[in-house]
Amino acid sequence: MKKNMKKSLTILISAVMLLYTLVGCGTGKEDENKEPVAQSGQQETAEVPAEDNDGASESTDGWIPEKAITIVVPYDAGGNTDIPTRIFAKYMGEYSDVDVNITNIVGAGGRTGVKEVMNANPDGYMLVLQSSGFAMQSALGVADFTYEDLDAVGYFLESSLALVVSADSPYETLDDLIQAARENPGTLKMGSVAGTLPLFAAMYLEKENDVTFNQVDLAGGSKAPELLSNRIDTYIDGFGAVKQYIDSGDFRCLAIFSSTPVEGYENIPTLDALGYENFEYLKQNFGLWAPKGTDKEAIAYINNLIKQASENEDCNSQLKEISYNAMYSTSEEHEAILETIYSDFSEAAAGIVQ
């Protein structure tokens, strides 16, 4: 019996030690790997102080973080939203003495993550990604919070939606597609995902042209296969998500929901060029939210990190590769834009919910 005990104890200890050694090599690797980043970071910071003096510097005096700042991404790790945010956070971290970490709290169309942060301590260490999805969910009556329940920190990412058809589709232009939808109301299969921006984009096209599509719901991952197999006629998604299929010649892009063309794809018409108006709320822009009542100086500090990262060339080129653009806005601008977006969406959503 006693022997048995002793053995089990050694096992317990060795299990703990295994964990420790594991963690030990894990951290060792992390440190090793961090070096190159730190170095490239230093090169970058050489030019930062000059910009700091532009006026943003006074805001950094008041609040200095003592531990890592966490950005909650309320969507899946590795997804279309998560990756650009991680890239951007990496560069934000380079301008701060502390790390900027990403945590994914997924669920209920992103609301679980937002609620988690809303209830968090408003100390500036806990932020959440803001996407236009929440304005939509609020308009649809699904989300029980609005932009007023959180503090805006600033926008940092922008990207545009794109409408694609299969390369062998008969529709060469957006007009062809609209024409076809007019002739056969409610039969053209338009893929969208419930409660996401592309759905509103499709509704926008319906409203502007007075046509109806057969709105087909797609799972997040299955959009491309559905069009590749021609089970649907067209779908709308972020440009970054469809770019590779345009490059490979599988898809044709008929329009970009933007007023400026995408770099390298100038031949794809923008909605602006096609004569559409008032589609600004359909931009896929991402910002940061802090819990209500967060220290104004902490917000200013983080806003300043966004500003510096958005001006970093490496950051911009890395984001461009996946068809995102870094952007910057002050927290006041962010708040004001959110206000218009929320009202635009509730207008657009009127009549969806029974």
Partner: protein, 159 residues
Amino acid sequence: MGELIFLGILAIIGVIMFGMSFGFQTSLLDKSGGPALYPRIVIVVLVIFLVVRCVMIIRSQEELKKKFHFLEILQGSRLIYLLLLLGYAVIIKPLGFVISSVIFAVIAVTFLHKKQYGTFITGKKAAVLYPIMILSIVALYYVFTNYFNVLLPGGILDF
């Protein structure tokens, strides 16, 4: 007999859930039959099989006499362990992972040892076992919160 009660409870829950399905919000855009259609189909299928099962039980003397296993988890040492777990779940948020786990582990280990060997852990064995348990729990907390990014509740000893 017990199984019939179990099936009856399932049927009642099914009927209630069927009724609740009339209150779901619907979207005007939704042409998929609505959010209520699928749960209703599942409930109908469930009830059909419940009825089949009931008929099977009633027609067989053997099945009718069979003991239904449920109450024994609410008896004796099983109930105590279940309550221990429940208590653990209740105190973990306010007291934090470390303290609540130590409390749970000490009580559970002492109780189970008594149950298994009929004696309490005493002397040298206790002097080694309990401290190691506490150290392991602290180590677990440290590893999970710092390296696995798991936000275990810090509680009153927020470290």
